[in-house]
């Protein structure tokens, strides 16, 4: 089942080249909806409470290089897959109503991107993961460069150079992991399960961790390495941007949970504080920048940096609560930010501008649009009652347990989120309506895309246990890898001591 789900988007994309021009958008829509159906089927068939992988596929692929074609779903990837399918269906349908020029290439690239993203979430072989991770970039590069706005070529090139710097280092690191572990495993293997049972010595873990962290942080983007973000966000077409911000940024966070924590536990503990600092800095920097920008896209972009800062610190609290919250928050944020970008696309069509200073009063004749936007805004600022609130709450609990100082600072971020989210809503929807802006109600076609997103947000707010219940066992399993390490390795090397040396309670002490 997951095999079909994985390759169907690409097949649909390829088929776009052979069907007549008018059928292209219909075909692409059907394809993405079929993938969504399969993803729902995967979720429905998931057995809650089992920590291991389900629906596994394990085939020999390149035996000489030790690479296997291994796929599988667990509680962490389950809802990210569903999120991917939902957002891709939304973006495809949204684009299909606006038939871009050169639709075949466009939908082919969308399909390729979906396959690559699903592949990254499904891959259970380290090299396969790296391969899909890199492959994701190519279609996005094309989509932004070919269909984007002003300055698209420099912007997209900057993006791909930034991200590939990280992912090529990651490739070297992945190969090094497998080769160094091959002495223990007995043969060359990239399988995550094999590598997990034979972790490396601390020395090599440190530099390998740095390479992986660089790749994932750039992808998110985290603060310091977010340089590609503003340009790319300004240039990207909005449905593509919804995917870029909604799904691709999650792959980085997912990579930490899937690869880094289980494979390099000592290094994770060693660098925990550094990553926490980056995460907290991201929250503050992102919030402040989001508050000062006037470009609507950048407000959403910088708010993503802040939200991903939350997700990062949730994971690196190395507590089950924090990581649970992070998984929930990944899904929440994906839905919210994609909703925001699609609504921004609608606003831009009405106002022909994406500058906050020139927007306003759009709610006047468009109550439904305003209502949907309000739901999304409230979710974005983590209003109590929304799923985002629960996600951030869990994250903060985790961080409180681990490093209380960071939790206090991160708490400020929750307040700041209210500022920028409400400012965005108020300036666009309320205030006086400037001349030249038509306040038009959302069309039925667009409502078909945006309303389900809002419905998902509401549904999650009512029942976040849908995700938390399923992800909990898998998350605990990943976190457990790091927990016993300080005591076990304290006698061997300095990493265990360094965790305690900082003055906080060492991790894993009962």
């Amino acid at each position: 089942l997951i095999q079909v789900m994985l390759w169907l988007p690409l097949a649909a994309g390829l088929a776009c080249f052979v069907v007549p021009r008018r059928g292209v958008s219909i075909l692409a829509t059907m394809g993405s909806l079929a993938v969504l159906g399969l993803a729902i089927a995967v979720v429905a068939g998931f057995h809650t409470g089992e920590p291991g992988l389900q629906q596994t596929v394990n085939e020999s692929w390149i035996p000489d290089l030790g690479v296997r074609y291994q796929l599988g779903v667990d509680g962490i990837s389950l809802f990210l897959i569903l999120l991917t399918a939902i957002l891709w269906a939304g973006a495809t349908v949204f684009s299909a109503f606006r038939m871009p020029d050169r639709a075949r290439v466009y939908f082919f690239m969308l399909g390729l991107a979906e396959t690559a993203t699903l592949g990254a979430f499904l891959a259970q072989d380290l090299l396969l993961f790296v391969l899909f991770f890199d492959l994701m970039l190519v279609p996005f590069w094309f989509l932004i460069g070919t269909f984007g706005g002003e300055n698209r070529v420099p912007a997209t090139t900057k993006m791909i150079v930034y991200t590939l710097v990280g992912s090529l280092l990651m490739l070297v690191a992945a190969i090094a992991t497998a080769i160094l572990a091959s002495d223990q495993v007995g043969h060359l293997s990239f399988s995550l399960a094999d590598l997990r049972t034979h972790t490396l010595g601390t020395g090599s873990q440190y530099w390998i961790f740095c390479f992986f962290a660089a790749a994932f942080l750039i992808k998110m983007p985290a603060v310091l390495v977010h340089g590609w973000m503003p340009d790319a966000y300004r240039a990207a077409p909005l449905p593509v941007l919804a995917l870029l911000s909604g799904v691709l940024s999650k792959v980085g966070a997912y990579g930490f949970l899937r690869v880094v924590l289980p494979l390099y536990p000592q290094a994770t503990v060693h660098f925990q504080e550094l990553i926490l600092v980056i995460g907290v800095a991201g929250i503050l920097y992102g919030s402040v920048m989001a508050f000062t920008q006037t470009d609507v896209r950048l407000i959403a972009g910088y708010s993503s940096i802040a939200q991903l800062g939350f997700i990062t610190i949730g994971i690196f609290s190395l507590r089950a609560d924090g990581a649970d919250g992070a998984v929930l928050q990944m899904v929440n944020h994906g839905l919210v930010v994609a909703g925001i970008f699609l609504i921004v696309a609608l606003l831009a069509e009405r106002a022909r501008s994406e500058d906050l200073a020139r927007l306003g009063g759009l709610a006047m004749r468009a109550p439904v649009l305003a209502a949907i936007f309000l739901v999304i805004t409230l979710a974005n600022l983590a209003m109590p009652g929304s799923a985002n609130f629960i996600g951030e709450f869990y994250i903060l609990i985790g961080v409180f347990q681990a490093k209380i100082v960071y939790a206090f600072v991160a708490g400020i971020g929750v307040v700041l989120a209210a500022f920028y989210a409400i400012r965005l809503f108020q300036r666009t929807m309320h205030n006086r309506k400037p001349a030249g802006i038509e306040s038009r109600e959302i069309g039925v076609r667009d409502a078909l895309v945006v309303a389900p997103l809002a419905a998902c947000i509401v549904a999650l707010a009512l029942y976040p246990g849908l995700i938390l219940g399923r992800s909990d066992t898998a998350v605990k399993d990943k976190i457990a890898a790091t927990a016993p390490q300080p005591t076990a390795s304290a006698s061997k090397d300095a990493s265990g001591r360094s965790a305690g040396w900082t003055g906080y309670a060492p991790l894993g002490t009962p």
Partner: protein, 523 residues
């Protein structure tokens, strides 16, 4: 003194015999009138190449010394020979419409062109199989001399003549250096046979100054041939100046054959001295990666760009040799095959665009291709992405293989160097792809300007004559109706690049099979 002729296994050298016979037949084809020449001669050459390839495949799996140890028949040599033969067969259709081959009486015609091409292939096959210093040198010259002529074969283009001359001078210098080095090695070890040299070097000559000097000079000479920096200066100029089919052949086939002999010479004959040459070659590889990638950044001509990229790719491949392991050689053979596919796809697109647009091989010529000519845009895009090492292409698998070999051979820093080089290379490969898909077509599409006056050997009258035939009407032919064969072959090469990127196992097995040939010599 009685001379006993060595035993000759005719089955073993059958590819060589087939090629030699083919060359004779093609030369005889020159008596035909111009109209029939192209068809008949091309058919003859392609048959010859097909026969040689078939015989190579027939001999696959044999391992024996031929002609008293002058040649060594094994999978590694045959793999190199197959790549060279494939490249030659690929460029023959590319050369059909070359102006150089189209003007009877004035310039070399199909007969000369293809006979020279086949001679060069013969040299490559011999080189890939060479197991003796003398054979190595003779084969290298047999490979090079026809190429010097082919580079200058467009005698009406100043650049082509310049490139031929430049290649001749630099190539001769490289050959002389190599010969000098071989002489030192002979002087130190007292033999010209690879295995005997190995025994001699192994028994206490690893630090012999004479042998070390020989190794250094021989490495330099071979580095000239495969354009490893800092012996690369000829590469961009020659690549740009030579007729594009020749460039394609030169880039792909020369590298394959020369790398085969490089591996055989260093792993077999000089294997015991590996500790001495490994660090030196590692530095050469790193320098080559840096120089090639940085040099390519500012290029506006796609052929020059591919020349610099070839330098960088040669650096990547050298990593496989530096690792001096089974994995390294497998990786090298795999990369050679992948490199052949990627480059041939790119060069065939260049050939087509050179004739259609007035921009020659400038990157402007490829702007807007994604909209106007998808059949050209996709092969070029795939080739560029593969050369840049993006996933789902053979280039990614090749890099993966090489990095694995580097890390396995305790040269992790070289693996990182490959990764860094790849990052730099993205900047220029993606520039080409961006031109194809993201920029509007450059206006106007002028007909190809072939009226550059002749230089050396041309009479003054001929210089003043405005050439109106040949080039002009081929350029004005309606778009898309010609070059079907080239389009098909470009699609084939690009398709194979993607296929081996998704299902690399057949090619990996093939490369591993080829690499096994040297297993007895690798510790």
């Amino acid at each position: 003194v009685t001379f006993t002729a060595p035993h000759i296994d005719y089955a073993g050298i059958s590819p060589v015999i087939a090629l030699t016979a083919g060359i004779c037949a093609v030369i005889v084809g020159g008596v035909l009138s111009d109209r029939h020449q192209r068809v008949v001669v091309s058919a003859l050459s392609l048959t010859t190449l097909a026969a040689a390839a078939g015989l190579c495949i027939w001999q696959w799996g044999q391992r024996e010394d031929l002609v008293a140890g002058a040649l060594r028949l094994d999978e590694l040599g045959l793999a190199g020979a197959l790549i060279a033969i494939f490249a030659a067969a690929y460029v023959i259709p590319l050369s059909w419409r070359e102006p150089a081959a189209e003007r009877p009486g004035e310039e070399p015609r199909h007969t000369e062109f293809q006979a020279l091409l086949l001679s060069s292939v013969l040299g490559m096959v011999l080189l890939a199989l060479a197991q003796n210093l003398i054979v190595l040198f003779v084969a290298l010259e047999l490979l090079s001399v026809p190429l010097y002529v082919l580079c200058g074969s467009a005698v009406r283009r100043t650049q082509s003549l310049e490139s031929g001359l430049k290649y001749l001078i630099v190539g001769s210098l490289g050959s002389a250096t190599l010969l000098y080095g071989l002489a030192f090695i002979y002087g130190g070890s007292g033999s010209t046979d690879f295995t005997t040299i190995r025994d001699a070097v192994g028994s206490g000559l690893t630090d012999d100054p004479l042998v070390l000097m020989g190794i250094a000079l021989a490495a330099t000479g071979l580095a000239f041939k495969i354009s490893i920096a800092p012996f690369h200066q000829w590469t961009p100029d020659v690549y740009q100046g030579a007729p594009t089919p020749v460039t394609a052949f030169m880039a792909v086939a020369t590298k394959a054959a020369a790398f085969c002999v490089f591996v055989r010479f260093f792993e077999v004959a000089l294997g015991p001295a590996a500790d001495n040459w490994q660090p030196a070659l590692a530095v050469l590889a790193a320098v080559s990666i840096a120089v090639g990638n940085i040099g390519a950044l500012g290029q506006s001509s796609l052929k020059r760009l591919l020349g610099y990229s070839g330098i960088a790719q040669a650096g990547y491949m050298l990593v496989g040799l530096v690792a001096a392991s089974q994995l390294g050689i497998n990786a090298l053979v795999f990369y050679l095959a992948a490199y052949a596919l990627m480059n041939l796809a790119a060069f065939s697109v260049i050939v087509v665009r050179e004739r259609e647009s007035g921009y020659g091989d400038e990157i402007e010529a490829f702007q807007g291709l994604g909209r106007d000519r998808p059949a050209l845009a996709w092969p070029l895009t795939i080739s560029m992405l593969a050369l840049a090492g993006l996933p789902a292409t053979a280039g990614f698998m090749g890099k993966l293989y090489l990095i694995e070999a580097a890390v396995d051979g305790d040269y992790t820093w070289l693996g990182v160097a490959i990764a860094i080089g790849t990052m730099i290379s993205l900047a220029y490969y993606l520039r080409v792809v961006a031109a194809v898909w993201m920029r509007p077509a450059a206006v106007p599409l002028a007909p190809a300007d072939t009226s550059v006056p002749a230089m050396a050997g041309g009479s003054p009258e001929a210089d003043e004559e405005p050439p109106t035939d040949g080039g002009a009407d081929s350029a004005l032919a309606p778009r898309g109706t010609r070059c079907v064969v080239i389009l098909a072959s470009a699609a084939l090469a690009a398709g194979a690049t993607v296929f081996f990127g998704i299902l690399p196992s057949p090619l990996v097995d093939w490369a591993a099979n080829a690499g096994q040939a040297l297993a007895p010599f690798i510790s």
